[in-house]
Amino acid sequence: MPKIPKVKAWIVRLEMMYENTIKFLYREHRASGKGLTLVEIIIALAMMGIVFAAIVPLFGQIRNSWDSKQAAAETLQNGRILLDHLNRTLSKAVRITAVSDSSQTIGYIEFEDNDANNLRYNVNGTTDYVEFGYAGELYDLAGPASQLQFTCYDACDLDTPITDVNSIRFVKVETTLTNPTAMGKDKTLIASAYLRTNGNNQAGITKGTPFEYNISLGKNPAVVQIDSTHFLCAYSGPGDDGLTVVLTVDTGTWDISSQTAHEFDATNAQNPALSQIDSTHYLCVYSGPGDDGWAVVLTVNTGTWDITSETPFEYDGEMGATPALAKIDDSHYLCVYSDKFTDGQAVVLTVNTSTWDITKETPLEYDTDNASIPALAKIDGSHYLCVYSDKFSDGQAVVLTVNTSTWDITREIPLEYDTTNGETPAVLQIDTTHFLCVYDGPGKNGWAVVLTINTGDWSISKETAFEYDGTSGLTPDLAQIDPNDYLCAYVGPASAGYAAILTVDPDDWTITNGTTFEYESIVATTPNLTQIDPNNYLCAYTSIDNDGWSVVLQLPNGQVKP
């Protein structure tokens, strides 16, 4: 527009010349009484032409200016849509799955929203438009853009950009929308979003430093919590002897250390299971000498963390394989195991809390065909859910009822919860009538199902089963995070140690899982999980050369604090 006054002055001059000429000609012709000659008309038209020739370029400039202002408004509107969109969708993102480096001016970001959709923003290399949509099905959103730059931060430090997608909680986006007109200016806009939604299941699992608690052998570990930082671990050590050790977790660094191990059975102790009696005493059942069923009380000195064992008790003189324990009260414990015919046996073990001697009540053969590797969960004071693998390796579940006067056991109506395969199950209570069961299911893959107990007749029904790992899912174990979320550790592909968080929808009891995490890449069998706090879990497992290992699995972004 700066040229307008100059052009306008010229127009005014030409106009005055034109008007003076017309006036002169008019006066001349009025005086002579003659009309205009051809030459006069040509002169007049020529002058008009000159005037219009001066005006027409002005039209062009005005047109350009108009176009540029219109484009600027459109660019701004595009920018507004883009910013709103970025803010809205990224705020709803559960986690970022991939993002370009913060130095990349034409970047991209991929994330999972709270409906488990995988979404993406990037710039189309051909049209230069910002695209958005499901990964692989993108559509134009706004543009053209010459910049789409993502800078990510964690929840606490908004000064230091990070690239670890599991820690990203804040995203800043800088975009430059280009004004396509010749005179137009580009618009650079900045948006930011805090990831408000965060299911524990979708937050990335990380781990602390693994700790080898037995460098010679450590098979089939079982762990119970002593206090907030100490955990009792029983396992099969060198020579398959029964060993137990206190593991100490440093809740600052999440490093693990161990105290002196105690040998509670110098002959044989396979597949131990533990249950807390009181703050210093623990009942341990195991497949002991002669593969018989044995039980022993372990005493922990909470000053020195030394462990001693009381007199062992042989609760099955023929065989007691893969036992599982559930506490009835301080003195009574329900123990289920496989007998010499691999049939399912259940017995109440009574602990004398003065002498720490153990006795047994009348056993019940709850499955006369076959019951391998059972697991137990308490329903109420007298009912227990037992899940196991039957003679066809199918998944079976049954409620065992304990008469708390006579300590006799009866079994209720069983349910075959998986008719194809259901081995090495683990089970946890969700609420009074629902239980989450994970198992090595069809295809030896990882499966989970919610079992519903009818507290009228103690029959069991099942909800829709869910395959949480389609490649492998052996010997899973569970720990509860909150009423809806459960941490599951299992043997995944190539015998590596994996963990996944399973989320149960209490409306329809469907199960979903977030991204799995490989906590041990070489080998990790028979994992056992114990909660340290809602975001940290102690996982004991057997790794390479059958050594005993442990690691803290962490959910660093597990809780969003408002």
């Binding site: 108009w66 219109q70 705020s91 709803k92 709270n114 408000r196 939604t197 524990n200 909150d482 809806n484």
Partner: protein
């Protein structure tokens, strides 16, 4: 001719002014919408703060004044709906499905978050 040129230039000037006015209005609308949404988020954060202290808190807020505007919060079971109104009358709405921890102070996790839906 003079009249014609002046009229033409005036029309152009008016058009330019109109365009600028629209641009300013767009920016103003964006500011107001952002302000309304921020007000709604403030209401949600206020509610989460109450729930952290008392997991059974369901009272909500009605037209609680905030930054020249106000927010109204409804707590329905485990769904919190916050509606924010900015000083210009624009309305923003956020809704969160939450899970509340089992012990005090109650840690709250947002499971689903909806903005202006």
């Amino acid at each position: 001719m003079t009249v014609f040129v002046i009229a033409f230039l005036s029309a152009l000037t008016m058009g330019m002014l109109q365009m600028n006015t629209e641009e300013i209005q767009i920016v103003q609308n964006q500011i107001s919408a952002t302000e309304a949404l921020a007000t709604a988020e403030a209401g949600l954060n206020d509610a989460l703060s109450e729930l952290r202290a008392d997991a059974n808190w369901i009272a909500g807020f009605t037209d609680k004044a905030f930054n020249g505007g106000s927010y109204t919060v409804d707590v329905n079971d485990l769904t919190i709906t916050s509606t924010g109104t900015c000083s210009q009358g624009f309305v923003g709405r956020v809704e969160a499905d939450i899970t509340v921890g089992s012990s005090s102070p109650y840690v709250i996790r947002i499971d689903h978050y909806r903005i202006n839906e």
